[in-house]
Symmetry: C2
Subunit: 195 residues, 2 copies
Amino acid sequence: MTGQVRIGILISGRGSNMVALVEAMQDGRVPNAQVAVVISDQLQAAGLAAARERGIETLPIERDGRKRVDHDREVVAALKERGVNLVCLAGYMRVLSSEFIAAFPNRILNIHPSLLPSFPGLDAQRQALAHGAKISGCTVHFVDETLDGGPIIAQRAVPVSEDDTVETLSARILAQEHDLYAEAVASLVKDDRRE
Amino acid sequence: MTGQVRIGILISGRGSNMVALVEAMQDGRVPNAQVAVVISDQLQAAGLAAARERGIETLPIERDGRKRVDHDREVVAALKERGVNLVCLAGYMRVLSSEFIAAFPNRILNIHPSLLPSFPGLDAQRQALAHGAKISGCTVHFVDETLDGGPIIAQRAVPVSEDDTVETLSARILAQEHDLYAEAVASLVKDDRRE
C-alpha cells in the first residue's frame, strides 16, 4: 500500500482512545496517516463532539432498531466513500458482522483492556480483579470472527495493586491504552510503507 | 503460625527453581525459613545432586509403576516427618492427588511460566509464541484441584521478541521465575509471622 493511510474510527461512548489516536496523528506521531471520519452507533456519544472539536468529520449511524447486517452495510459504505483503508475500534460496543470484517481484511484493529488471551469479553478489568491477577494490561489486536481472539499486534503490562477497584485499575490501564494504540497504528502504517 | 517455616521442595528434573529457592534462603533473602528436604519423583533428577551440594537432605521417591495416591501418601508422610509446613513445586511433573492437597491446605505453591490465566498446562512458552503474545511472564500460585488455576500470589511480566524461540523465551522467563519465587515465598513467610 502506498500513499496516505486513511483511518476510520468507530466509537459508542466518550471515545477516549479515539481522541488519543486523533491527537497522535495531529502531533505527527503517526506519520503518513490521518483520521478521515469518526462514526458512532450511538447518537448521543460524547466522543462525537470531542472529534468535531478537533476538526474531524463525524457521522452518527444509529444502531437502535436495525439489524446488524443492515447497520454494518451502511457503516462500511460510509467508510469506503471516504477512502478509509484502516478501521480502528475505540470502545465500539457492537460486534462486527462477518460482512464488515470481510470488507476490510486484516485492516480492522481493536484495543482491549487486558493481556489477551486472559480476560476476553466485557468487563476485563473486573475479571482481572476477581481472578486475583497481579499483572494485567492492554492488547491491540486485529479483529476477526472470534471474541477478542484475533492476531495480537502489541501489548503492554500494567501492575494491579492490592487496593485497586475497577475504576482505579481501569484508569491505570487506560493511560497505557492511549499510548499503545497510537504506537501500534504507527508501526502498522510504517509496515504499509515498506511493502 | 510462629517459629521457623520448614519448606519441602518437589522436583522432577534439574530443579533450577529449587536451587534458586535454596540459595535465597541460604543468602538470608527469606528470613525465618529453611529448606528441610528436596524430594524427586525421578531417581535420576539432576536437581538431587545440586541440592546435596548445597547441604540439603534429598529423598528420591520413585513414581514409576505406582498409583498416584500411593506415591503421594509416601511423599506426604516424608514431608510431615520432617516438619514441613510449606511445599514448593519446582518443575514437579506429577499432578497432585486431592489427598496431597488436603494434607497441606493453602500451603502448596507452584510457579508457572506464563501470566496465568493465559497459557495454563504444559509448554506454556510454546503456547505463548503460537498465540503471538507480545508479553508473557511467570506466576506463583497456590495449588488447588484446578490446572494452574489456584489463587495467584505473584506475577512478573516478560517481553516476547519477534525472533524468540521456545528456548530463548523460556530462558528469559526462567531468570524472572528464580527471583519471583523467592520473593513470593518471602512475602508468605512474612505474613505467617504477622499472624
